[in-house]
């Protein structure tokens, strides 16, 4: 047993030992008036009967399920007098997913709360790497390995077709190194969060509270790394050290007529690692090329998370007025600032010499403002109405910096390449106009205003209709101004306690004033030829015009005391349209436009690409049956389906023009289905309730299907083998049964059986392995170094015997 585990075990054991005698003594006596100790302890032994995949990471993705002693729960409540209380609720205290809450205080005067939560986050069952980790998130490869890869001239050739790269190729060197030298590495982290809160109510009018919380996460997390394009991609178990602290205070005044409150919160986030440096498997050192603006890097460096401060000031007020009318108003302002001391250099490639950075640090700042006013009224029993206005604004106060020489992936300083667009120095040489980039401080403002009126002419019916308009304004966006109108109708029928129906119908129409595909050009101070061409057909679904129809229905029916049936159905359908032409996404149309900026219009067909439509449907049917007071059964089944159409426009833009054959375009119809069934049984086996059986089970299946299609006659760039994506399937089956036997009124034990099985058929994850560059795959992966992340399927049978003692 490790010291950590011993320490974890010590606390609960001490608690149990100290609580038990006192509890016994108290339990044997009638609790004194106004004072008592009560609670329960649950502990026992738990064993895996069999495991298809021992300690499967997916099974323990967020939890710790040990083999052996389990201190499942401690409930402890102490009320020494009528006014004071101390409650402890501790779960799984010997484990790495423990949760403890201590609540204490003097009734009607003050209350304190201490909470502590731990949980793990596992990313994979196995992972291995060639990289060695050093301090400050530096990952290195053996020099000899890098040299060998660099010395190999050919990347990937399998001349004899034996599915093994030929000797002397880079792919062969990498493959052999992974097979012989990769070391196992843990990819996961532990979260520890805790806090203390104190609330005092000196009079019934006033409440003051103060809370402090902290959240720590440390371990590793998968981090993919791209050197340049896909020639030497890599992945490492990056160090993960996130620290967040919160301090919150509030004051509230409440009376029969009004509530007024003030909230102040502040938070500091710090990361132990703000950048990551790693070796390039293709080059030992930075290596020059014939082009002075291109040099192969021996190392790459990327930024990770950044430190930040966050402060929120909020006020709210609510007033009860005559005619059962209430006005609520709230206003808050959040300021978030980035707290990194300095910007990283543009590159660590010693052979590239970009212009100096425009600033030594990035003083990023967001100011979020939120305000709301709402009035609701029930002037008559039959009538209610309400109106509201909300504003949410993200104001980006960050500077917009211009980087004169943008460096791409520590590899090159790209040039414009089209004198028609950017000939900054006027020498008509497209090879020396270095691309400059400017960051765009994106922000937006959302305003909602609406009203509702509800009518309940009879006690069993209530209907309401509402209208809301949302206006959204953005900076640096293809759509800078859009409105969305929502009309909603709700119909609730409650004719008796035995049945009820609730229905909601909704219609939303979102319209943008324009769609500017050139918006991203603002990021190119001297211009750039390909950006607009990349975006010209794209219509992003969260910006486009959209019509949405939605309906939900919830019904329950209890024909007898024994039977109850319930059902829920939802439907939502979205259609996306181009704000410029009104055409539905997925349509093609002909445009005349100067595409290469030579002042001559070109004529071409353009596909409106993006999500064309989506439809979400779900329904649930369930029943509960209580044949006797001792027996209860319930079962339900839920089916969910999300379908969306997607059209993709393949572009290979070079200097503003490129292959623009509409036959390259392709699309897909995606269907994600979820089927979930639940069953539960509660049964008292004997009249004296000493034996009790509980069964809880569920089965959930998810499938993802992507069917692809070209346009009629399509054959992208001569390759006609567009295939259907393999179907993705996940299945989770959970079943647990508990047989509980009461030995005494305050002592019982339970024998439990827990079955859980998860399996996934996921083509994109199932192939993950540290070396993925074998022949017949994407040739660009021949030199790739990955971790090989994959959750393995598991089937677990677990039995346990748990004692429960109430005192």
């Amino acid at each position: 047993m490790s010291p950590t585990v011993r320490a974890r075990c010590t606390l609960p054991v001490l608690i149990l030992l100290s609580a038990a005698p006192a509890a016994r003594a108290v339990a044997q006596e009638t609790p004194p008036p106004g004072g008592a100790v009560e609670g329960e302890v649950r502990f026992g032994l738990q064993y895996y009967l069999s495991q298809q995949q021992p300690n499967a990471a997916k099974f323990e993705e967020y939890r710790d399920v040990p083999n052996g002693f389990v201190a499942e729960r401690l409930l402890f409540s102490w009320t020494p007098d009528q006014r004071f209380h101390l409650d402890v609720d501790a779960l799984d205290v010997t484990q790495r997913d423990q949760r403890i809450v201590v609540d204490f205080g003097r009734t009607d005067l003050w209350r304190g709360t201490i909470h502590w939560t731990e949980n793990r986050r596992l990313w994979t069952d196995d992972a291995s790497t060639l990289f060695a980790r050093h301090d400050n998130a530096v990952f290195t490869l053996e020099d000899s390995f890098q040299s060998a890869v660099q010395a190999a001239v050919v990347a990937n050739v399998d001349s004899d077709g034996d599915n093994v790269w030929d000797p002397g190729t880079k792919g062969r060197v990498v493959q052999l190194a992974v097979q012989s030298g990769a070391q196992d590495v843990f990819v996961g982290h532990q979260r520890r969060a805790g806090g203390i809160a104190f609330e005092i109510t000196p009079s019934r009018r006033w409440t003051f509270s103060l809370a402090a919380d902290r959240d720590r996460r440390d371990g590793t997390t998968p981090q993919t790394l791209g050197m340049y394009f896909a020639l030497s991609p890599a992945e490492v178990a990056a160090p993960y050290d996130l620290r967040t602290d919160w301090l919150k205070g509030s004051a509230e005044f409440s009376s029969r007529h009004a509530n007024v409150g003030l909230q102040v919160s502040t938070s500091v986030f710090e990361t132990g690692f703000n950048s990551l440096t790693w070796d390039n498997q293709l080059f030992l050192n930075d290596t020059a090329t014939a082009n002075p603006l291109v040099a192969n890097p021996g190392r790459g460096r990327m930024s990770l998370w950044t430190d930040s401060n966050w402060t929120r000031l909020g006020v709210f007020a609510g007033f009860n007025l005559p005619a059962r009318t209430r006005i609520d108003a709230s206003f808050s302002r959040i300021e978030t600032t980035q707290e990194e001391d300095s910007l990283l250099p543009m590159t660590i490639n010693s052979l590239l010499a970009p212009s100096p950075l425009p600033a030594s640090r990035f003083d990023g700042e967001h100011v979020t403002t939120y305000g709301q006013v709402r009035i609701t009224s029930h002037p008559f029993k039959q009538l209610r109405w309400g109106a509201w206005a909300r504003l949410f604004e993200l104001s980006n106060h960050s500077p917009s910096l211009t980087f004169d020489d943008y460096v791409q992936t520590d590899y090159q300083i790209p040039v414009c390449g089209n004198v028609n667009v950017c000939d900054a120095n006027g020498n008509a040489n497209p090879a020396d106009d270095r691309i400059a980039r400017r960051n765009l401080p994106y922000d937006f403002e959302r305003i909602n205003a609406g009203a509702m009126v509800g009518w309940s002419p009879v006690s069993w019916f209530d209907g309401a209709v509402s209208f809301e308009r949302e206006n959204l304004q953005r900076d640096f966006s293809a759509v800078e101004d859009s409105d969305e109108d929502t009309v909603k109708l709700t119909l609730d029928f409650d004719p008796s306690e035995r049945w009820g129906v609730r229905a909601t119908l909704k219609r939303q129409e979102r319209r943008a004033d324009a769609y500017d595909v050139h918006y991203a050009e603002e990021s190119f101070p001297i211009g750039e030829p390909a950006e607009a061409a990349f975006n010209e057909g794209s219509r992003r679904f969260y910006w486009t015009d959209r019509d949405r129809d939605a309906a939900t229905l919830l019904a329950d029916w209890s024909p007898t005391e024994r039977w109850s049936f319930y059902a829920e159905g939802t439907y939502q359908n979205d259609e996306y349209m181009d704000p410029e032409t009104g055409r539905k996404l997925g349509d093609s149309f002909t445009v005349h436009e100067d595409r290469n900026f030579d002042t001559v219009l070109e004529t071409y067909d353009i596909l409106l690409a993006g999500r064309t439509d989506d439809r979400m449907t779900s329904w649930t049917l369930g029943a509960a049956f209580t044949p006797s007071p001792r027996i209860g059964l319930n079962a339900d089944y839920t089916f969910e389906r999300w379908k969306y159409g997607l059209e993709s426009r393949y572009r290979n833009v070079v200097a503003g023009v490129g292959t623009d054959d509409p036959l390259d375009n392709w699309g897909s119809d995606v269907t994600d289905d979820y089927k979930t069934a639940n069953f539960g049984l509660e049964m008292g086996l004997t009249r004296d309730a000493k034996w009790h059986l509980s069964i809880d089970s569920s089965c959930s299946k998810g499938t993802g299907d992507i069917r692809t299609h070209f346009v009629p006659g399509g054959a992208a760039s001569g390759d006609t083998s567009l295939t259907r994506f393999p179907e993705l399937k996940t299945t989770l089956i959970h079943a647990s049964a508990e047989l509980r036997h009461a030995l005494r009124a305050n002592l019982d034990y339970a024998v439990r059986y827990w079955f859980e099985s998860w399996n996934e058929d996921n083509f994109s994850a199932d192939f993950n392995r540290p070396y993925m560059g074998a022949p017949r795959q994407d040739p660009s992966m021949a030199q790739a170094l990955y971790l090989g992340l994959d959750f393995k399927d598991y089937t677990n049978h677990i039995v346990s015997v748990m004692m429960r003692y109430r005192y």
């Binding site: 791209g226 709301q372 609701t376 992936t409 918006y519 649930t620 998810g702 994109s764 017949r776």
Partner: protein
């Protein structure tokens, strides 16, 4: 090309709305605060019956909880274990104990327990049920109940909470009607209950989170009963690493986490709403990045993914997709 970004004042439209909010607050506050009866500051002791006469209330006079216990001993004993049973506070009408919610018990006692002569909250219309609770609890978490979606659909406090629990069993947290919060919410939100079983999910199933980690069912100032001011602020409350202003922002990330993630669970890793690379391609055309699922496995039965399709798809290289602070991170590669 557009012009330079206009300078935004610190409090643009927000300041105007804030002014309106404060004006409304002040205007309503003065009379509202003035009307509050002072004597309630110091209520009489809990064991003293309130001085209300039968003439004032058809339920008769207050008789105190001890009178209730004479017939309802089990209920009173169970109730005594809860915070309601411990409180000494009185309602604004001066009632305490059982009569805080059930009203004066005088007529009920005099009639030898006639159930029609005592207020039985569960039989009242939803709004009246809630009004009883709100007479004390219209504060803190419950301050925005009126006008909330649940209130609008005719729910009451008793839809989810049960005030009386047996004396011999643990009292559910927050006096919930069901043993767990998830069971309580899952009574109506059946689709959400099912989504908990999805492959990629928040740790609700494991108990680390609950519905109320993100939502306040009693009503909030935000959309979807979210606890924070916006969807993103809700996510940042745990994922604080994603909140920092970035040199290179990814607009959909900053605007709404739900553009790409489904927090209630998904078939796809990291709770993404769609499969890679199609998720990114909903917004991004394929330029230099052909991602058609061509199969190179002409001679084999297996499907071999290419580098843009496996695992994180586009994010294999564009790994800093939530935003980058690297000067060369415009395409989220650094």
């Amino acid at each position: 090309m557009k012009g330079e970004r206009p300078v935004t004042p610190t409090f643009p439209r927000a300041a105007r709305l804030g002014g309106v909010v404060l004006s409304v607050c002040l205007a309503a506050a003065i009379p509202a605060l003035a009307e509050d009866p002072k004597p309630q500051e110091q209520p009489p002791a809990a064991n003293e019956p309130a001085k209300e006469t039968p003439a004032e209330n058809p339920q008769g006079a207050y008789v105190g909880s001890e009178a209730c216990a004479a017939c309802h001993e089990e209920v009173v004993n169970g109730h005594a274990r809860t915070a309601h049973g411990r409180t000494q506070a009185k309602t604004l009408s001066g009632a305490a104990g059982c009569e805080s919610c059930h009203g004066p018990g005088g007529a009920h006692v005099e009639s030898q327990g006639d159930p029609k002569k005592i207020r039985r909250p569960r039989l009242l219309p939803a709004a009246e049920q809630s009004a009883i609770c709100l007479s004390c609890h219209e504060r803190g978490e419950q301050v925005h109940w009126q006008g909330s979606p649940h209130e609008g659909r005719g729910l009451s406090c008793l839809t989810c909470h049960k005030i009386h629990h047996p004396a011999d069993a643990p009292v559910p947290a927050h006096l919930l009607l069901k043993q767990t919060e998830f069971d309580t919410c899952g009574t109506c939100h059946l689709k959400r209950k099912a989504s908990l079983m999805r492959s990629a999910h928040m740790p609700l199933r494991e108990g680390t989170m609950t519905c109320s980690s993100c939502h306040n069912a009693h009503g909030t100032i935000s959309v979807a009963l979210l606890r924070q001011d916006s969807i993103n602020e809700n996510c940042y409350s745990c994922h604080a690493e994603k909140r920092a202003p970035m040199l290179w922002e990814h607009p959909p990330v900053r605007e709404n986490c739900l553009t790409c993630h489904d927090p209630h669970g998904s078939l796809h890793p990291r709770m993404q709403i769609a499969k890679q690379p199609r998720m990114c391609q909903q917004c991004h055309d394929e330029a230099r990045h052909p991602t058609q699922p061509y199969s190179d496995a002409a001679g084999g039965p297996e499907f071999f993914p290419n580098s843009r399709m496996f695992d994180r798809g586009c994010v294999n290289c564009h790994s800093q997709i939530h935003g980058s602070n690297h000067p060369a991170g415009m395409r989220f590669l650094r």
